[in-house]
């Protein structure tokens, strides 16, 4: 579904160029979920933005659904296939468009019928309900806005969904609902996901494989199963893993001790 080969992305004039992504390569099978984790500023969002045409300067090859993407030539078909949920939902929602307008215009753009039925259905799917339908972005809490952004991305029924920290503004109960929704959609429609997250437990829940980034490069690629067995090799992955497992331990059994639990359990 997605094949990225030798992707470089840079910003700015040569004198003070920022090489945000360097020689990144990975592929994602149809129906698979792929995680991107890594240090803050390591280039994760930039990779997603380059795929959707939001980073002007890049080189390398990107194939989506068997078709190579050429510079600035993403057509309607492309956006029918690929949708993205941005890390920063505030910036991606038009401040003067109500939730209803955002969703119904997106639905129309994708040639969907029964809009009156689909808008409340989308809101329900992301746990918002119809009472939020006529609100404007500034009338929503952070997590409510993020869910509107998720609903908008789902509206056109894309086949590849690029998710940039989709649950980072959500409390754990809503996060669980969204992760279950994503898993259901994958089961029903064979959706493919690329998900950026700093939370290994979230990546581990939804994804089968992941890439780890540092300073613009992919430094490690591994299966979630390997991650669970503690088989990460790169120092950054290992430190992330140690902390995630320690944190996750206190889930239900009570007690405040955050023991640095054995990663192999």
């Amino acid at each position: 579904m997605l094949d990225v080969d030798g992707l470089n992305v840079w910003f700015g004039a040569p004198a003070n160029r920022v090489n945000a992504v360097q020689r990144a390569s990975f592929y994602v099978e149809t129906g698979e979920s792929f995680g991107l984790v890594g240090e803050s500023g390591s280039g994760k969002s930039t990779i997603l933005r380059a795929i959707t045409g939001l980073a002007p300067d890049w080189s390398g090859r990107v194939d989506v659904d068997g078709r190579t993407i050429y510079r600035d030539r993403r057509d309607r078909d492309f956006y029918k296939t690929v949708q993205m949920v941005f890390q920063d939902p505030y910036a991606s929602l038009h401040p003067r468009h109500s939730v209803d307008r955002v969703l119904s215009e997106t639905l129309k753009l994708h040639g969907m019928d029964r809009i009156e039925w689909r808008v409340p259905k989308l809101l329900d799917d992301v746990g918002l309900g119809a009472k939020f339908r006529f609100r404007y972005p500034h009338q929503l809490s952070g997590g409510q806005r993020q869910r509107v952004a998720i609903a908008r991305a789902l509206a056109g029924e894309p086949r590849l969904l690029l998710l940039d920290e989709p649950t980072s503004a959500l409390d754990v109960s809503v996060q669980a609902e969204i992760l279950n929704l994503l898993a259901d959609l994958r089961a029903e429609r064979g959706l493919t996901y690329v998900m950026v997250s700093h939370d290994l437990a979230v990546v581990g829940h939804l994804c089968q494989r992941l890439a780890v980034m540092q300073s613009g490069r992919i430094v490690e690629m591994l299966e979630v199963e390997q991650l669970r067995r503690g088989e990460a090799e790169h120092a950054y992955t290992r430190s992330l893993l140690a902390a995630s497992v320690a944190g996750g331990r206190t889930g239900t059994e009570g007690g405040a001790e955050l023991s640095p639990a054995a990663t192999g359990s």
């Binding site: 803050s40 500023g41 809490s141 952070g142 754990v172 109960s173 996060q175 437990a201 206190t250």
Partner: protein, 279 residues
């Protein structure tokens, strides 16, 4: 004396679809401590912080029996006096950092401005302070970031820039709204340790809004749990995992765990009675 005293705070909005009661009569005090606020999306956490700083615009309405900063009633201050409170005495790290930063001003200028607003010092010293602060929040390339505009930094960098900017004037109280939600654990720890030092060494009061239960239970002293605009439970942070309210229990159960894979995550069955219950 406590740093902050809030009694019966209410925030509501008139909308075309009727009145939205975002905060429904909450009371709490803040000392020189780390006070966590957790609760589900839309439960009123951000509005609580904004109400304290008088940042809720009409048609939003704020009412409280008392909102006192070191004994001084905030509600009776003029707008001009309130401007002096913001930043110097209480500062707030907003949930949408990149949206709250000025888009047409470089990061460096903004941090320096925050510093110079409250300290009589040279621009040169301000620049040095700003660089130090960026380094302290683990920004890898502070010289470059000083010159960058907000849209040129990553999500997690934006969050740390905002934190640097809010800490640089050395406030009495910091309200941090999901300050580390885009940061991985190692950077998170660094940022938290800076806040922690300020609480312990300078007696700052910290209100730490977060949905990360593990983080809050590890890092804070006390936690308020909000649901539908009310405080439904208050507990010692270290005992958060023994919380009794069914809502809190539900939250604890819906965490995904790397070491225990599940097909489906548990979701909350929300009970309408929780919204009615008293704090």
């Amino acid at each position: 004396m406590s740093l902050l005293d809030v009694e019966n705070l209410r925030v509501s909005f008139d909308t075309r679809q009727g009145v939205v009661e975002a905060v429904r009569g909450i009371s709490f005090t803040l000392g020189q401590e780390r006070l966590g606020i957790v609760g589900e999306s839309g439960s009123g956490k951000s509005m609580t912080g904004r109400a304290i700083l008088r940042l809720i615009r009409p048609p939003g309405r704020v009412e409280a029996d008392r909102m006192a900063l070191e004994g001084e009633e905030l509600q009776s201050l003029s707008e001009r006096q309130m401007r002096k409170v913001r930043g110097r005495r209480i500062s707030m790290v907003m949930q949408d950092p990149k949206f709250s930063l000025n888009p047409v001003m470089t990061v460096g200028e903004q941090i320096m401005e925050a510093y110079l607003l409250h300290a009589r010092d040279s621009r040169r010293a301000a620049r040095r302070k700003a660089l130090e602060m960026l380094e302290a929040v683990a920004i890898r390339d502070p010289e470059r970031v000083m010159k960058a505009y907000p849209h040129e930094v990553s999500g997690g960098m934006g969050q740390r820039i905002m934190i640097a900017m809010m800490l640089i004037p050395d406030p009495r109280i910091l309200i941090a709204d999901e300050p580390t939600s885009a940061l991985d654990v190692s950077v998170q720890r660094r940022v938290l340790s800076i806040m922690d030092t300020l609480v312990r060494e300078r007696g700052m009061g910290l209100i730490f809004i977060s949905h990360d239960l593990n983080l809050v239970s590890e890092f804070c002293d006390r936690v308020l749990i909000m649901y539908a605009g009310r405080i439904v439970e208050t507990c010692e942070a270290a005992r958060l995992h023994e919380a009794r309210h069914p809502y809190t229990r539900g939250l604890l159960n819906s965490l995904p765990r790397l070491d225990q894979p599940q097909d489906r995550l548990e979701v909350l069955a929300r009970d309408p009675a929780w919204a009615g219950g008293d704090a």
